[in-house]
């Protein structure tokens, strides 16, 4: 078992506290099947790499959307060698909640500093206060991780007062209780089928992932109708693949929570299907 990063400095009054879903992501990312998959894609140590796989040697960028306490991103940053088979790694996070951004930045920074030298040279780019991947450069993300607000709710939290609630210095326009309940509701409320936020992220995925080696891990609960979600991803085309790679809490034959992996199958002939959008050309 790899160590779970410390989040003891985080105030869980307005930041999501690591729970079963967070731990399922940690377990999945460090499971034998996923580390084998990720080693194959990203490790750069094997001497037999020929010319055309030199791409493997550039540092992968891991983006976690909705970092919350930062426990997941910190885990990957501090255990890069065990998870990816390489020590170097760029880590970046986004969260809509400013308090979560601060908390997770500290969690990741601490985990990297305390990680034994053999396990990581994780390089932390920072956490930005943003809506999903809206401020991230297209085609840049190698590994995207998202534990979304997935609970079905009648409606999504209104963002009309988000600016006020999101301020670190309390300005007395609203009560602290209102502020904290607003920020916490953003961490779980998912609207219709609990999928409204996740659907937006899925829409952004093809643009944001690195076109050749990009892979995404997304957590779903049973009410999200995971099979339908996977069917929809398959409609993106034959260059995409999707698979359930972790689950927990079996109830009457149903997995309560699961993690799906969505990835680009290595293309042989057609090099870059969205070449027109690749900003690096």
């Amino acid at each position: 078992m790899l160590p779970t990063p410390s989040t003891s400095h985080v105030s869980f009054d307005n930041v999501y506290e690591p729970a079963e879903d967070s731990f399922l992501l940690l377990d999945t990312l460090s499971s034998p099947s996923e580390t084998a998959f990720l080693h194959e894609k990203f490790n750069n140590s094997s001497a037999d790499h020929s010319e055309e796989t030199t791409q493997n040697s550039s540092v992968p960028l891991v983006l976690e959307v909705g970092t919350g306490s930062g426990v997941v991103l910190a885990f990957v940053a501090a255990n890069a060698n065990a998870i990816l088979g390489r020590k170097d790694l760029l880590t970046l996070g986004t969260d809509i909640n400013n308090f979560a951004c601060r908390a997770s930045a500290k969690t990741v920074q601490t985990a990297i500093t305390e990680a034994p030298n053999i396990s990581s040279h994780g390089y932390f780019l920072g956490v930005v206060n943003a809506d999903l991947t809206s401020s991230i450069r297209p085609a840049s993300v190698d590994i995207l991780i998202f534990n979304p607000p997935y609970v079905p709710t009648a409606e999504l939290p209104s963002l009309s007062l988000h600016d006020d609630y999101n301020r670190i210095s309390y300005e007395n326009k609203t009560t602290i209780f209102e502020r904290d309940s607003h920020l916490l509701s953003l961490s779980y409320a998912g609207g219709v089928d609990g999928m409204e936020i996740t659907n937006k992220l899925l829409e952004q995925l093809p643009d944001i992932l690195q076109p050749e080696r990009g892979v995404a891990y997304i957590l779903l609960c049973a009410q999200n109708k995971p099979n339908e979600v996977k069917e929809r991803v398959r409609l993106w085309g034959s260059s995409w693949a999707v698979k359930t790679v972790g689950y927990s809490g079996k109830q009457a034959g149903w997995e309560k929570l699961q993690v799906i992996r969505i990835w680009k199958k290595p293309s042989l002939g057609d090099k870059c299907p969205i070449a027109g959008k690749d900003p690096s050309v």
């Binding site: 040697s57 550039s58 390089y123 943003a130 809506d131 450069r137």
Partner: protein, 145 residues
């Protein structure tokens, strides 16, 4: 946030997504912080292929930091020859030759310099994103989304 972070960020407005002028975002009134770090040649070698040199050069200049060469240097110009050969087989060579000036500059720029506060300005629409205590705010008022 790091200087290198600007390599992976762009204006959050939909209308700017496809516009070349929206990248890189331009730092303004930036307050920097320097935190010393150990030189990590292996990391720098692997990160350079991911660096958009021109964007990094522009941002470095705008921050008033020592300027980078106009064109991305070849690895040989950055990494002392002995360590280049050794890196293929071993992670660390104990007897590394003295690091080049360029390597030291890149180390300082990429690993030791962070942006604490200021603004990031989109070159396409002019929108300013505030950075406070190292965290950039990319949330847009609803009429701009």
């Amino acid at each position: 946030m790091k200087i290198l972070t600007l390599n992976f960020l762009t204006c959050a407005r939909k209308a700017c997504k496809a516009e070349p002028a929206a990248f890189p975002l331009h730092p303004r009134d930036a307050e920097l912080e320097i935190v010393e770090a150990e030189l990590n040649t292996e990391f720098l070698r692997n990160v350079l292929p991911r660096v958009e040199w021109e964007a990094l050069r522009v941002v470095t200049e705008e921050l008033g930091l020592p300027s980078l060469p106009n064109v991305a240097p070849e690895p040989d110009a950055i990494f002392p020859a002995a360590s280049t050969a050794a890196a293929a087989t071993a992670n660390e060579t104990p007897a590394n030759p003295a690091p080049t000036q360029l390597l030291q500059d890149l180390h300082h720029l990429l690993l030791e310099t962070t942006i604490l506060s200021g603004k990031l300005v989109c070159g396409n629409c002019g929108h300013e994103y505030a950075v406070k205590e190292g965290i950039a705010n990319f949330l847009l008022p609803s009429h701009l989304v």
